[in-house]
């Protein structure tokens, strides 16, 4: 079963996996308050049990620049609340961050036990299937090796004037997910997608734990 947001966040904190600043809200006012605190732009998501591809179903509103935008988005999502599989009346508001989109996953293989997958997000994974795997337990050296093994590694090193991302931090996250998988046998799958990497930060933006 999909872990709810609160438990997901607790688990990430416990394993030192950084998540983008987020808040579960029930009213527009709570959202506006949060946006003031962290600063626009923000993202609004309808919390849904129907887990695959929120963006495709219009359950995510990106690039919210001000209070008015936020109100419109909140209303639009509230109208969708009857949507099958949604939980209560909750929305998730997050600070919008920019950077390179990555994904990290975990699944349990019949033969090898927990396996971590990693790659660049978007078309890199969908079209080019640029994914690498690591068999748990993963140590730091293996995690770095994994990161270097994706075809798009150059993009992480800073491509066309982009700053390079923090490979050290990223490898720590992979190692921490490996630890999480080994210490929590009840968790079947993890899907962190996207994870957004900028020069100084690597943040999980969307987390599904099953």
């Amino acid at each position: 079963m999909l872990l709810d947001f609160k438990k997901t966040r607790e688990l990430l904190e416990k394993y030192q996996i950084p998540m983008v600043e987020s808040l579960v809200i029930e009213t527009l006012e709570q959202g506006i308050e949060f946006a003031k605190e962290v600063g626009f732009p923000v993202v609004l998501k309808l919390i849904s049990n129907d887990i695959l591809h929120k963006v495709d179903k219009g359950l995510v509103k990106l690039n919210i620049q001000n209070d008015l935008d936020l109100e419109a988005s909140f209303k639009a999502l509230s109208a969708l609340k009857s949507f099958q599989g949604t939980q209560g009346t909750q929305c998730l508001v997050q600070k919008q961050v920019g950077g390179i989109e990555l994904f990290v996953g975990m699944k349990r293989d019949k033969s090898f036990g927990p396996v971590i997958s990693f790659g660049l997000g978007g078309i890199f994974v969908e079209v080019l299937e640029d994914i690498v795997f690591g068999i748990c337990p993963l140590d730091k050296k293996q995690a770095i090796e994994m990161i270097k093994n994706i075809k798009g590694y150059k993009i992480l090193q800073g491509y066309r004037g982009q700053p390079p991302i923090d490979i050290e931090k990223l490898s720590d996250i992979l190692v921490n997910i490996s630890r999480l998988a080994i210490e929590n046998n009840n968790i079947q799958e993890i899907d962190f997608n996207p994870v957004i990497a900028s020069e100084n930060n690597i943040l999980v933006v969307d987390a599904k734990i099953i």
Binding site: I51, L52, H53, F103, V104, G105, M106, K107, D109, K110, S111, F112, G113, V115, S117, V125, E126, E129, I131, V132, F133, G134, I135, D139, K141, Q142, E145, Q188, E189, I190, D191, N193, K208, I210
Partner: protein, 446 residues
């Protein structure tokens, strides 16, 4: 394991002389080792098989039996297993199919049989397998159509049918085996156990494996990592199943290809992975026959790597291309020569000899790919002799022959084969095997 792979006595339950039967196939194969051990045939319905007296049951045999081969219908297997335990046999192979591979009922039966032998501490191979072969002691406890020659490759296969064809191929191409194991459903001994057995076997230099699924992956990585420090393991994995994908719910997990996970495991364990049956045996024979390039020394001189020696530009260039694709480094040859070093079409055997020696003497050179095109002054037999002789002088530097040609070239390639060399027919093949020979010993990414 001595009782399984070199039994002093063997009994076949399900022996028959019915033409075209599995039972008869095993009868014939066991008789191949007649001088090596006592052979008992068991069949309650036949008094004699091929003029040899039969027994009604294992209970009737007075002597202790080291190895029992069971080839009777699945529903009768459990009873004879109990009997085997009651007389205390040394080891058992169950050839019969009709177990876990058929579904739930078969799996239950298989588990019962597994438990019977586990409680009695009797090693079990199978069920649902072809059997095992140890050519050195003339043991062919299988229904393979032939017995392979003795050699140094252990072949462990999830598929029995593949073993059959490989034996036939090996008899034509003159290579041999230290052990052949069709491990079937792994109710008792598993792939991991056979890897350990092959590692302990002094006659095995290389372990070749065909598999579709590994039952205990974590243990496999531990076992294989240890073995590959000293003995190469080469694996062909078949079956890129969709099942794993169906079972997962989340998005990225559904993108995860099982074959990539296996490849990761192989890398972690230092296993060489190949993609074709042909490559499996090219690589096995190369690693069996050639020394592995010695990378022990740190070279401070010229860039180190392989050298390509050729009497024809094209074959040198194509070989260099494949080396580059496979990441096989080419050395800088000292002096004015390029690498590939083209000694030109009129190169005599003397010129080949001098060039080969000078390359092997250079410390930055791991080994030489010896390309030969057939030109009017080329002497394939003489060149083959040079390779055989020179390899003895440089036992740590592999010389890989690539003799391109047919009828006339055969004189040279036959001589090479007879003297324990593998002649390559394709630049791609020789480059791939050069890569496997350069793999640092005991390399694991873990």
């Amino acid at each position: 394991m001595q009782k399984l792979f070199n039994p002093k006595s063997v009994a076949l339950i399900g022996a028959t002389d019915r033409a075209g039967s599995v039972g008869l196939g095993i009868v014939k194969n066991l008789l191949f080792g007649k001088g090596q051990r006592k052979i008992y045939f068991i069949n309650p319905n036949n008094k004699k098989i091929l003029n040899q007296k039969t027994f009604t049951s294992i209970l009737d045999i007075k002597e202790k039996i080291d190895l029992v081969v069971i080839a009777i219908p699945a529903k009768l297997v459990k009873q004879v297993c109990v009997e085997c335990c009651s007389v205390g046999v040394g080891s058992v192979i169950i050839i019969s199919s009709g177990f876990a591979e058929l579904g739930k009922d078969g799996a239950v039966l298989q588990k019962e049989i597994k438990n019977i032998f586990a409680t009695n501490n009797i090693p079990l191979v199978g069920p649902n397998c072809l059997g095992i072969i140890n050519p050195k002691v003339k043991l062919n406890a299988s229904f393979a159509p032939e017995t392979p020659k003795q050699g140094n490759i252990a072949f462990l296969s999830q598929s029995g049918a593949l073993i059959d064809s490989i034996i036939d191929k090996s008899l034509l191409e003159n290579f041999g085996f230290s052990l052949m194991v069709s491990y079937g459903n792994e109710a008792g001994l598993s792939l991991n156990d056979f890897l350990k057995i092959a590692n302990d076997d002094k006659n095995t230099k290389v372990i070749a494996v065909y598999l579709e699924e590994i039952k205990n992956g974590q243990e496999f990585i531990r076992v294989a990592s240890e073995i590959t420090k000293s003995k190469p393991i080469i694996i062909l994995k078949g079956g890129k199943t969709q099942e794993g994908k169906k079972a997962v719910q989340s998005h990225t997990a559904s993108l995860a290809g099982d074959e990539k996970i296996y490849s990761t495991a192989f890398q972690n364990a230092g296993v060489i992975e190949v993609e074709t049956i042909r490559d499996l045996f090219l690589a096995s024979q190369t690693l069996e026959k050639s020394p592995r390039a010695d990378l022990g020394e740190v070279f401070r001189g010229l860039p180190s790597g392989w050298a390509i020696l050729t009497n024809g530009g094209a074959v040198g260039v194509v070989t260099a291309d494949w080396c580059s694709r496979f990441g096989v480094k080419l050395a800088k040859i000292s002096g004015p020569q390029n690498n590939p070093w083209d000694i030109l079409g009129d190169a005599s055997s003397e010129i080949y000899q001098v060039a080969l020696m000078s390359l092997l003497k250079q410390k930055e050179i791991f080994g030489v790919i010896f390309c030969q095109t057939l030109q009017t002054m080329t002497d394939p037999l003489e060149n083959a002799k040079i390779i055989v002789k020179t390899q003895k002088d440089f036992p740590n530097k592999p010389i890989l022959p690539l003799f391109l040609g047919g009828k006339i070239t055969k004189k040279g390639s036959d001589f090479l084969t007879k003297n324990g060399f593998l002649n390559f027919n394709e630049p791609r093949d020789v480059a791939l095997c050069a890569k496997f020979l350069t793999k640092p010993r005991g390399q694991t990414s873990g």
